[in-house]
């Protein structure tokens, strides 16, 4: 009996040891590149970076949060990022939905169209940005020419249009994934339901409005929240298209973090901005989890 207990005990210990061994690689990476920098941000945010290098950093506590989060620059960044999200996310989803509805039919050769509609998933932010940067170039850009702007400066240099242009590029780049998502959502709508609505005399619009759209709402919600989170992380298109300009009109949050650290060497400010970005992401993620929880309850 004793031997058996010893044996069982050691087996449990070995199982636990194996468990720790298996999660260890991930934990090492997370510890070094997720948790450490996360807490380091909080530490950095309490110290003011001196105006000249080689001077010691000065502890200022929460004063720095107060100064930076209250500054006009931060309010501008927040406004610009929010505007960017509001302009790009719903537009992308609606256009993706339109394409998905049009491609949701049985036709010979429809797969070719589906491939074309999803084709922009093959473009990265950088590819899309470089394509449109040159299309909007005043000297050679076709789009600038057709927009009737002739040799006027690119919309990317125009305070009124820069953010619109950046959002437009983003919408085009995300069209593929939006189409794929919405198509999958449409495919999950049972045909029998639409058929019986048709038998009941519901028209095209009424079927879409009363059958398809409600059943599509989880997909739409998912796309909105994830799109919103990603919009708040936008950086590449700003770096390639506008560098935050003209005059801060496209200075989104992540670009502001980037310039404060890599141009101004102000890690204190970068840390405060990064924490602000974290809080925004957290709120959006919690909204999503909250919703997913509710959906699971519906199913049961």
């Amino acid at each position: 009996m004793t031997t058996e207990r010893v044996h069982r005990f050691s087996r449990r210990t070995r199982e636990a040891a194996l468990g720790y061994l298996l999660v260890l690689p991930s934990l090492l990476i997370f510890g070094t590149f997720v948790f450490y920098p996360f807490f380091r941000n909080f530490q950095l945010s309490l110290y003011r970076t001196p105006p000249f290098p080689n001077l010691p950093k000065r502890y200022v506590g929460f004063q720095q949060f107060h100064d930076i989060l209250g500054s006009a620059e931060f309010r501008n960044s927040l406004k610009v990022t929010l505007l960017f999200a509001v302009m790009s996310v719903p537009t992308g989803i609606i256009l993706g939905l339109i394409l998905a509805v049009v491609a949701h039919q049985r036709l010979r050769g429809i797969t070719i169209y589906r491939t074309i509609f999803s084709s922009t998933v093959a473009t990265s932010v950088a590819v899309a940005s470089v394509i449109f940067f040159t299309l909007l170039n005043p000297a050679i850009g076709l789009l600038n020419y057709w927009l009737g702007r002739g040799h006027a400066p690119s919309p990317l240099d125009d305070p009124k249009w820069a953010l619109v242009a950046v959002a437009g590029v983003t919408v085009w780049q995300n069209l593929g994934i939006a189409f794929i998502l919405m198509s999958a959502g449409l495919q999950a709508v049972p045909d029998e339901l639409l058929e019986s609505a048709r038998v009941d005399g519901a028209g095209v619009w009424s079927r879409f409005r009363n059958v398809t759209l409600p059943l599509l709402s989880p997909t739409l919600f998912f796309a909105t929240v994830v799109g919103g989170i990603l919009a708040f992380q936008a950086f590449g298109q700003i770096d390639l298209l506008t560098k935050g300009g003209p005059n801060g009109h496209t200075n989104v949050l992540v670009y502001a973090i980037y310039t404060s650290v890599f141009r101004d060497n102000d890690t204190g400010k970068g840390a405060v901005l990064a924490i602000a970005l974290f809080v925004i992401t957290l709120v959006l993620t919690l909204v999503q989890l909250r919703f997913l929880e509710r959906r699971v309850q519906y199913e049961r």
Binding site: V23, F30, V34, Y36, A103, V127, W146, R149
Partner: protein, 323 residues
């Protein structure tokens, strides 16, 4: 600002452009209604034509930027600026592509991107499968807490931690082995921070948990240890989830921009996304090479899309759609 004030400030050309777009949209809606109303007997053929017209119109709009880029990549730089623009290259210059490949370093950038992406995908699958196995099949103290730690990493986007990680990676310079493997401007710096994934571990844990519980007992009776059960039973059965993870991490790694931008500074290590940034800064007389480079940079994923479209759609939408 009211709507008509905004319209008045628009240049005439832009109004023309808007009119064209509006006409296209109206035509699309009319076509859609006509094809929806058409009865099977009278107008089946007409309706099919309408549908194809609508689909083709939309396809042209979506593809237009890519088409123009391909055309411009084949033109002489001075022809690109001509008005009215050339929309079909009569004398294509194919050598812009070889020029982008070698002089524009596209060959090197693409290799770097593939290499880095491959390491990240393989690394993420390995760490995620290992951790997921522990969470699904093993009992150990603090398991729940560690699992929550894994999930909490999903709340911290890389955009929040990138400059502190940049400092960490830069500080590796003074450490003997680490500096050459994962220091600033090395492949390791591009790969190592992404070798673990909370999302992937969660995804595969769910797949493992959905396997019948008897499976483990049966395998144990057959004398399978944990290692053999994992590699011969659990992993093969979780293949769809692993494929999904591979796809996500491939896209994530391939499209990375911010991190490669801050931790690389030479062409030997730059990924294709950062390479494009270099290329975009080229002078106007080499702008066709920039266009060619952009096409080359997009081509690998485009080919993947053509070959794996079905799997791609299934993998990318996993979790987003009910059922």
């Amino acid at each position: 600002m009211s709507a008509d004030v905004m319209l008045a400030t628009l240049t005439p050309g832009f109004q023309r452009f808007l009119v064209v777009i509006a006409l296209l949209v109206v035509a699309a809606i009319v076509l859609a209604i006509v094809s929806a109303k058409a009865t099977p007997h009278t107008a089946r053929r007409a309706s099919a034509v309408n549908r194809y017209l609508l689909l083709t119109m939309l396809a042209l709009i979506v593809l237009f930027p890519i088409y123009v880029t391909v055309v411009n990549s084949l033109l002489r730089p001075d022809v690109i600026g001509h008005r009215p623009p050339t929309l079909f290259p009569t004398h294509p210059l194919w050598n812009t592509y070889s020029s982008a490949w070698s002089d524009g370093h596209l060959g090197r950038y693409l290799f770097n991107s593939f290499f880095v992406t491959l390491l990240i995908v393989i690394g993420q699958i390995i760490t995620a499968v290992l951790a997921a196995y522990a969470f699904a099949f093993l009992a150990f103290p603090l398991k729940r807490f560690i699992f929550v730690l894994f999930l909490s990493t999903l709340m911290v986007p890389a955009e929040v931690t990138f400059f502190t990680n940049y400092q960490t990676v830069s500080s590796f310079r003074n450490v003997p082995v680490l500096g050459t493997i994962a220091g600033y401007n090395t492949y390791g710096a591009l790969v190592v921070p992404f070798l673990a994934t909370g999302f992937g571990a969660f995804l595969i844990r769910q797949a493992f948990m959905s396997l019948p519980r008897d499976l483990r007992d049966a395998a144990a009776l057959d004398g399978y240890g944990h290692w053999r059960f994992m590699t011969r039973v659990a992993v093969p059965l979780a293949r769809p989830a692993i494929a999904s993870l591979a796809l996500f991490s491939f896209f994530g790694a391939w499209n990375q921009y911010l991190w490669p931008l801050v931790v690389t500074n030479d062409d030997n290590h730059r990924t294709v996304q950062i390479g494009l940034r270099q290329l975009a800064g080229a002078s106007v007389d080499r702008i066709n090479v920039t266009f060619a480079g952009t096409i080359l940079a997009a081509l690998p994923l485009f080919v993947l899309l053509l070959v794996f479209q079905k799997q791609l759609v299934r993998g990318l939408t996993a979790g987003a759609v009910k059922g």
